[in-house]
Amino acid sequence: MKNDIQKVKVTNKNSNIAEIEVDRDLCIGAGTCEVLAPNTFKLDKEGKVYIDDVNSHSDQEIIDAAKSCPVFAIKIYDKNGKQLCP
């Protein structure tokens, strides 16, 4: 069975981040990401993360939020396709 994965492209030209990906099957709903970048990462009714607005936080805030995930459910890629985290 394929994992429930959401990928969103970042269109903000000032951002070095190209894409954000969340693996909703891995997500345990801890929610630290939602505290650190609340416009980008939100928890749904089931307590699973989903990506919302990717343009209203700084790159650092988004990376900090991704790095706070205890189960590595958030991946960040830069414009060269390099995985910035985890």
Binding site: V35, H57, E61, S68, V71
Partner: protein, 240 residues
């Protein structure tokens, strides 16, 4: 966007078992931890990383707080915490988390955990005992049960603490389940066995708080749903 970074000092370390430790922190900045029973703190462990640990205590002032640390997984967070010496400062954010007691609390509360999943439940139970959830006047109507599962007798944590609450009448039932060891003083099997002794009133009106590994949480949730428990009455937090 600014997030409040808090600081606390490690003031006590205690071995709860061969693989589990209790750390007590004194709040430094601010001097009181603002959190709800069941919530966690997210600790900075270096390299921009942070990891969540449920607060396992509750007291009126919350000028100190406790964490339960399982040292078995060999990772950055455990190494960071094991290297902390008394007097060390940690930086964290929190309390964070949705795994909290609901506003419309039932009169029958069932807490189910394995391993260090006991941490947030212990905080909730301490809050409830300090709020006189069970008194001599209401002990026939109100129930507060704790069911704790682990593999071996040597893995049991806070046994004396909860036996004391039981003897004082603050909780109405405390059961331990050992999955890999027979011992006449404890139940043998998985923690989901607890459901066998519940009544239809318990299933219909109770609220269930589950914390531990994902498989256990899923299994207990499934047992409860099959018994007719409303999903709205099941609260859980998965540790992995």
């Amino acid at each position: 966007m600014s997030i409040e970074i808090k600081r606390a000092e490690l003031v006590k370390k205690t071995d709860l078992s061969d693989t589990v430790k209790e750390y007590v922190f004194k709040m430094i900045e601010p001097t009181q931890l603002d959190f709800l029973p069941g919530q966690y703190v997210s600790i900075s462990i270096g390299d921009g990383l942070r990891r969540p640990y449920s607060v396992s205590s509750w007291n009126q002032k919350n000028d100190t707080f406790e964490l339960i640390i399982d040292i078995t997984p060999n990772g950055k967070a455990i190494n960071y915490l094991l290297n902390l010496e008394l007097g060390s400062l940690i930086e964290f954010i929190g309390g964070i988390g949705r795994f909290t007691l609901p506003q419309n609390l039932s009169k029958r509360l069932f807490f189910i955990s394995t391993g260090t999943g006991l941490a947030p439940l212990k905080s909730m139970i301490q809050f409830l005992t300090q709020s006189n959830f069970i008194t001599s006047n209401n002990k026939k109507e109100n129930k507060l049960e704790l069911h704790f599962g682990t593999r071996y007798k040597s893995d049991i944590i806070y046994y004396d603490f909860f036996i004391d609450l039981l003897h004082k009448g603050f909780i109405s039932n405390y059961q331990v389940y050992l999955s890999r060891q027979k011992d006449e003083n404890f139940n043998q099997g998985y923690v989901g066995e607890f459901a066998k002794k519940l009544t239809s009133i318990d299933f219909n009106t109770g609220q269930f708080f589950i914390c531990g590994g994902g498989d256990m949480v899923k299994s207990v949730e499934s047992i409860l749903i099959n018994k007719g428990v409303s999903p709205d009455s099941i609260f859980y937090e998965r540790y992995y």
